[in-house]
């Protein structure tokens, strides 16, 4: 079940033997994962299991200790700065805390990648930004506000708009619904599904919200102790036959996964 068929088409993202530790703490211990083109993979797993570290390693924000990462068949680990920047141009990312630039207005945030990376003229970029904001259900007058004037849910939407504005081939979503009410969470999920489909993008999301995972995933992988321990289509998640997965999706405190509760 953990093998997802040897497809001949080049994988959009391919990770092999990814290892990363911080000091003595081993976070990733030889993690393997593949994401196919236009596929939406959701990685689930407990807090502190290294989900964010996985995404940051793929993007290049963290340097892994060992292992290879390939994007479109190109090995990016150990690439030089300028080559790496070319690869980063394919990415969009929605951060766990939205990470909007608070010195810029909302529309400038959304237009940032267009102006800085694509060299688009400000006027044109603003039009595109307003259109992208409309796509995520925000009106044009929101564009003139500062990020600090928005609610958490609106910030997530702006973060989503910023991630998709450059029409990236690969989009990463780090806990897109954490900290939102269930209705806003499902609104964001629907927006993510819609945007990814419309762009024909590949999506790698991480979450511990199972409802959200079911809505946006084609395929689900579970990370535990630095490795992927289960990987399969979202339809099979309820019959995974893996006790770790069963415990996680049912949110039981009894089971093979022991939470470290220091008292």
């Amino acid at each position: 079940m953990s093998e997802n068929g040897a497809n001949s088409a080049p994988k959009k993202i391919s990770v092999r033997g990814l290892t990363k530790s911080f000091g003595k703490k081993q976070v990733l211990q030889g993690l393997d994962i593949d994401v196919g083109a236009q596929e939406s993979l959701v990685v689930i797993g407990g807090s502190g299991t290294g989900k964010s570290v996985l995404i940051k390693s793929i993007i290049g924000l963290l340097n892994p200790d060992a292992g290879t990462i390939k994007i479109d068949g190109e090995t990016v680990t150990g690439m030089s700065g300028s080559e790496r920047e070319r690869i980063t141009g394919k990415f969009g990312m929605l951060f766990q805390g939205a990470a909007l630039f608070d010195s810029l207005t909302v529309w400038e945030n959304v237009a940032f990648g267009l102006i800085q990376a694509r060299g688009m003229a400000r006027g044109l970029a603003k039009e595109k930004a307003i259109a992208t904001l409309a796509q995520v259900g925000l009106s044009s007058d929101v564009g003139e506000l500062a990020p600090s004037e928005l609610s958490g849910g609106m910030q997530k939407r702006v973060g989503l708009a910023r991630a998709i504005a450059t029409e990236p081939e690969i989009i990463f979503f780090d806990e897109p619904t954490t900290g939102l009410d269930p209705i806003m969470g499902s609104v964001i999920d629907d927006l993510i599904s819609k945007c990814v489909r419309e762009l024909g993008a590949t999506a790698l999301s991480i979450t511990h919200d199972m409802a959200s995972a079911r809505r946006i995933a084609d395929r689900v992988a579970m990370i535990y102790e630095g490795r992927i321990i289960w990987d399969g289509p979202v339809s099979e998640i309820d019959n995974s036959g893996n006790p770790h997965v069963e415990q996680f999706i049912n949110g039981r405190s009894e089971g093979p996964i022991q939470m470290q509760v220091t008292g």
């Binding site: 940051k56 993007i59 290049g60 924000l61 920047e85 980063t88 141009g89 990415f91 969009g92 990312m93 951060f95 766990q96 805390g97 990470a99 909007l100 630039f101 608070d102 940032f112 990648g113 800085q116 990376a117 910023r162 991630a163 450059t166 990463f172």
Partner: protein
């Protein structure tokens, strides 16, 4: 044995920090010269550092000039050397007090603000977000600040020199009954271009160091609000220490035998 190991650790730690900071500085400087450039950001930092520091630097300078005149008068009048007052005021201000005091005041104002801003951007992942938007944080955040610090401090110090001399003039002429023309003529005759130039070189170095410390500590801050607070403190303290020690080195280079 343990004692030697401790010494070794301290020495190694020191050199590794110096190495890290130097690498950071070199990377930042190299991005000043490589396109794309961000003139708007440089301008914003220049206004922040140059224009908004004018009041605090001006106040520091005027009181320093005034107190210099007053102090040297009480000392020099005992052996009727009052005529040396313009000399003392202008040399102290241009060579030492102008750049050092302006540097320390700006370190408190700007170094702290930079560290807090970049530190907050780090812990809220805004710096990571820059990278995902194909923008190099060194180019976008660090280079403009280094450039602005380097270029604005000399201008601030030039202003501080003028205001400091003015402070000495005001006290001497209005309080100590000096002749205005003589005072100004003496000031002008005593001061030489190396005095002013050494002060401006110091100012450029200090400005660079202030920005560098603010950026370095902010960029690598971690651990939420507490980490940002720590970064702010470290930025100001390290900038102040660097200013004072580089001040000695530059003085020795210019005026040492």
């Amino acid at each position: 044995m343990n004692f030697l190991r401790l010494i070794g650790q301290v020495v190694l730690g020191f050199f590794s920090i110096v190495g890290r900071v130097s690498l950071f500085a070199l990377t930042g400087v190299s991005h000043i010269f490589r396109p794309p450039f961000f003139p708007r950001l440089v301008l914003r930092q220049m206004i922040e550092i140059g224009y908004y520091s004018l009041p605090v630097v001006g106040l520091t300078a005027i009181f320093t000039g005034m107190v210099l005149a007053l102090q040297s008068y009480t000392g020099f009048s005992r052996f009727s050397a009052e005529s040396a007052i313009p000399n003392v005021v202008v040399l102290s201000i241009t060579r030492e007090l102008g750049p050092v005091l302006a540097g320390l005041m700006v370190a408190g104002r700007i170094g702290a603000a930079m560290a807090a801003e970049l530190g907050t951007m780090r812990v809220t992942e805004q710096i990571d977000a820059l990278t995902t938007l194909s923008t190099n944080p060194f180019k976008y955040l660090i280079a403009p600040r280094l450039l602005a610090g380097l270029s604005m401090l000399p201008i601030l110090v030039l202003v501080a020199d003028l205001i400091g001399v003015l402070g000495g003039y005001l006290v001497s002429v209005h309080l100590l009954d000096f002749n205005a023309t003589t005072y100004l003529r003496n000031t002008w005759n005593f001061v030489e271009s190396p005095d002013i130039i050494s002060g401006l070189v110091k100012a450029a170095v200090f400005g660079f160091l202030i920005s560098l410390m603010g950026c370095y500590h902010g960029y690598y801050s971690k651990g939420g609000a507490q980490g940002v607070g720590q970064a702010t403190t470290n930025a100001v303290v390290s900038a102040a220490i660097l200013i004072l020690s580089f001040n000695y080195v530059i003085t020795a280079l210019f005026f040492g035998q």
